[in-house]
């Protein structure tokens, strides 16, 4: 991915050299043509077309903001309810993600999802231990959310 971005920047600089004009707008036009060229040559380059990944990252950011808002609504509801009606617990969740970078991102996202907080990652990096505020209604819903998060992260990284 980094290689493709670098290639794209080199192409846009060659565009600026060809036009002999040194403005940001020309850089942008060159970048656009570089994107077209890289898209045309994507079968010869290693990895996926990188712009797809950038779009996936944007989707992930959007998902993150949405979950943050939902998480807060739920926490506020739990706190302000007159009778404290929570059932906390710790459950284990197996994960398919491999690299440390992906696992860090996943635990950040989980921590900001409704009612869950990552407590520990097992030593072989296959299980996440998560503290949930409402474990009864959460189990199924949480595994769904995890699937969407894990999928979104995989879209970005591979």
């Amino acid at each position: 991915m980094a290689f493709q971005i670098l290639l794209n920047i080199i192409i846009s600089f060659s565009w600026m050299f060809l036009k002999n004009e040194w403005t940001f707008a020309d850089f942008f036009v060159g970048y656009f043509w570089g994107l077209v060229i890289i898209f045309a040559m994507k079968n010869f380059l290693p990895g996926r077309f990188y712009f797809e990944r950038i779009i996936a990252a944007g989707k992930l950011l959007f998902l993150f903001l949405k979950e943050l808002l939902l998480a807060n609504v739920q926490v506020i509801r739990d706190i302000l309810r007159p009778r404290l009606d929570i059932e906390p617990g710790i459950f284990a969740m197996p994960t398919e993600l491999k690299s440390e970078w992906e696992i860090t991102l996943l635990s950040l996202l989980i921590t900001l999802t409704p009612g869950t907080l990552v407590m520990d990652v097992s030593d072989d990096k296959k299980v996440l231990y998560i503290h949930a505020m409402n474990i009864t209604d959460a189990d199924q819903a949480i595994s769904d959310i995890k699937n969407t998060f894990e999928k979104a992260i995989m879209e970005v990284t591979r």
Binding site: N72, E87, G89, L117, M133
Partner: protein, 123 residues
């Protein structure tokens, strides 16, 4: 600066302040460290975020001054506060801070205990 925009910014500031207040209620009311850390790591993040966004918008619209430092601040708070919540609750668990009585499930207990004990002794 038009009236609607200033009202909008005011609402954002008040929401942020309200969220911080609710976080404080949560810290007082909730029964154990782990539940408190839920409240602290979520509502406080969004509360600070709202206040910073409102400050950013205010100076941008009023003075035409776009403060990149506030944007950086938002990003830093976003990244660091869940990590802090995680580390605090993890440290609490491994120094044997008890869970609440009504806690229903504890999968972490079955994790290899000896290794953890060794880890604590070494540190």
């Amino acid at each position: 600066m038009t009236e609607t925009i200033s009202i909008f910014i005011g609402v954002i500031v008040l929401l942020g302040a309200l969220l911080s207040l609710i976080t404080t209620f949560g810290l007082i009311r909730l029964p154990d460290v782990y539940c408190r850390s839920h409240a602290a790591s979520k509502s406080a993040t969004l509360g600070v975020l709202f206040v910073l966004v409102a400050a950013l918008l205010y100076f941008w619209i009023k003075d035409g001054f776009f403060s990149a430092r506030l944007v950086l601040g938002i990003i830093f708070v976003f990244i660091t506060s869940p990590v802090a919540g995680h580390l605090i609750s993890r440290a609490a668990y491994y120094t044997n801070v008890p869970l609440w009585d009504k806690t229903v499930q504890d999968d972490l207990k079955t994790k290899n205990k000896q290794k953890i004990v060794k880890e604590i002794k070494n540190s």
